[in-house]
Symmetry: C3
Subunit: 340 residues, 3 copies
Amino acid sequence: MPDLLDWTDVSDADWNACLARARQHRQAHRSPSAYTDAARGKSLGLVFYNSSLRTRTSMELAAVQLGAHPTVIDVGHGVWGFEWERGVVMDGGKAEHVTEAVGVLARYYDALGVRVFATLTDRLADEQDAHLKTFAAISSVPVINLESAKFHPCQALADAATLTDRFGGNVKGKRLLLTWAPHPKPLPQAVPNSALLMATRLGMDVRLAHPKGAPLGADIVAQAEAYAQQHGASFEIVHDVDAAYDDVDVVYAKAWATPLVYTDYDADETFRQTHANWTVTTDKMARTNDAAFMHCLPVRRGVVVEDAVLDGPCAIHLDQAEYRLHAQKAILEWVWGLRV
Amino acid sequence: MPDLLDWTDVSDADWNACLARARQHRQAHRSPSAYTDAARGKSLGLVFYNSSLRTRTSMELAAVQLGAHPTVIDVGHGVWGFEWERGVVMDGGKAEHVTEAVGVLARYYDALGVRVFATLTDRLADEQDAHLKTFAAISSVPVINLESAKFHPCQALADAATLTDRFGGNVKGKRLLLTWAPHPKPLPQAVPNSALLMATRLGMDVRLAHPKGAPLGADIVAQAEAYAQQHGASFEIVHDVDAAYDDVDVVYAKAWATPLVYTDYDADETFRQTHANWTVTTDKMARTNDAAFMHCLPVRRGVVVEDAVLDGPCAIHLDQAEYRLHAQKAILEWVWGLRV
Amino acid sequence: MPDLLDWTDVSDADWNACLARARQHRQAHRSPSAYTDAARGKSLGLVFYNSSLRTRTSMELAAVQLGAHPTVIDVGHGVWGFEWERGVVMDGGKAEHVTEAVGVLARYYDALGVRVFATLTDRLADEQDAHLKTFAAISSVPVINLESAKFHPCQALADAATLTDRFGGNVKGKRLLLTWAPHPKPLPQAVPNSALLMATRLGMDVRLAHPKGAPLGADIVAQAEAYAQQHGASFEIVHDVDAAYDDVDVVYAKAWATPLVYTDYDADETFRQTHANWTVTTDKMARTNDAAFMHCLPVRRGVVVEDAVLDGPCAIHLDQAEYRLHAQKAILEWVWGLRV
């Protein structure tokens, strides 16, 4: 049975099948057919190293609606913290090694989800998605990435389905702007990475906009270019905060830290403060083709985006969030081989 | 489908139906008929801003015993804290606005419970039950108040059923004393408010006793007077800590803060310390008509009430607590339109 | 219906029946017959005063796989802390007395589990297992010990089943070494107590090894001697850290504090540091009869045991951990009278 660490590991056939299945689940939402016993007897362990509202609740309900049993495990809240390094003499504050923790959970559960964000201090570990890969290497049951240093595949599938519904089933030829946004804190790049790869893989015409000095990883950009080429679609990177909005059909906003964060935390903070003019505003949205506004949530109102945009008719952030439930049902069916 | 923010919003017919149904659920407790599939496929999100033992467990079991799936969400424990104010630039410690948090949860769950206590610092917000009302205004699914600044309707229904059982189905003509009690901390008035309205709505003869300077809200008292008049029952407010107990059939004790708490925290504390003689004692209970002793729990032994009262044969606080389970099954059936 | 505070309270017939049933559950693991509705409608409240990974997840799944509903209650995480002493004036930080907390939970749930570790500060309370016994005395439903000051019966049954499987159903004549190990923190003796009583009750030849000055309780040792005598098996206590390993078939390692911890915390720490040579190593394991290595987890790698032992072919700590699930299903069936 497969892991879902990132969609880049997954064939087009399976990606498209999961996308189609997610859309079926949305059609069934709150109808009797939303609840099946397809996964009766199975259990899902959800390990969180970081906070969550949507992921924990939507993944829990996804499991329940398939007849499976979910457990949310908050590391550090009533559960011992884990040591991740191999070969360490564990005489400090960490009571348990991830080898035993995951080894045991894999004996109990039929799949494990894990959320472990980028460290923003260990660049190599973040670039290699080291914590996620360590976790997956230990587990003898499928592992689902609930947001790692580099990827957020559950969000990506939900976003893909939201966009596909938005444009009546066909997003080809539609233009998506993925724009950097200000934020009081340095944030990882998992969501923009996954959004970029998702949109280019869907064959949308994609514009990535960010201030110079806030690039996404070179490997991510290269993969996005490859997806765009594969679909005969366009992909460009721009730095003009206003012109970026011209004629797009979708604005996807997200804050992320610059690479400065690894070497000079204060310089990254200054960079973010200096580019406060990247907030998504009604003025900027007026340049678009009546674009949908997307955000993965949680969102800082008045910082990432003006209230008027979020509260306006084009905002589809709640649709994205709702689709997490449907997408994750499709993902669970896929990792457990329950595809109907 | 209705919210349950407070019973004052609910018709007599529905209040009485819920009361009757709660009593049926108690009859079925631990029998096979306690467990139904009436709410199969439904889910209940329980959002706690404040601690809870009874409410979280009894509401969870109430949902489960109807076949629904409950999730307990502890804000601040693995879940981001919420910003409640509109129009704020969210550049501080709050990562998510209640608009998005509740908006998303309402997409997932079929009802939401919320516990959000009085601030005891913002008098206007507390008097208007502002947090509860904000939460309910955002939610597109029914909201159940798990104790707000002003009301605790789950406790009220459980108490009403406990009293009705206690007196063989008819509480008319029975006298209930609701008495203020000392406490080391300032506590909100939600429970005494709800207890007072519950008892007067049942048509009991009600005596509210508190030291001068520790009144309940004028709107609450006015509503209690109206209920008493509607039932041809008596309602009085007294300040004699001993005479208050004369000839009553029920003593309901509860600590609450004085209005001083909003303007002079220390003065409220001094007030509470000064009135330490309001502890419920066996001596005071001896003045009653062998009265039942009630408390919503948690209770400070030796401060609110002497051990001998709590451990004696007249104490029915555990019956009240048990009834939370039965009452909340009735409430869930009501908000979901499952009345049998 | 019985409590499970410790197996010493339980007849040989019931102990053996639970052991046999645990082994049946392991055979059924991940097959359709692993999931029954034998406990449909029942609920299990799991109260944790201390951290847990295995116990909370395996007990939750044990309940679910029998059709029952589990709730994990972390005292101090969204739940008020409890006062344990009788006759106290509760004017401090504790909002609720254990009398009410357990009294209420017993009204809701059909059994309660409780984890409450040794204090390591109150010797008398620890020796009497006072917190566990207080909890059990209050509860009107069966109480299952999830690790108390003195015993860890869930671990003991899992270990007994793991050993029985390891030796093809018959452990008689097999030699088990239970060895003290170093640790950066003082740990309670519940696990070594239960492991010692388990192995001697199985009729294994048991060697208990620890530095002079780190004894287990005299009552525990006396009970172990009685079990050994009952089975015509050997039991010895040794202090030679190397010779202890000679010719044994099983090495069970565990760190525990010395009695010094109650009177001189620093002296206990010094004792543990002085005996760092008690780490389980490949050199020591080479003296054994190709022994299985056991540990209850969590384990400090490089302190309690070398990585090479834990990662080697003889380590069966994950089997022990998995057996927690199966053993606890047998325990729940037993306390609920569901023995098939």
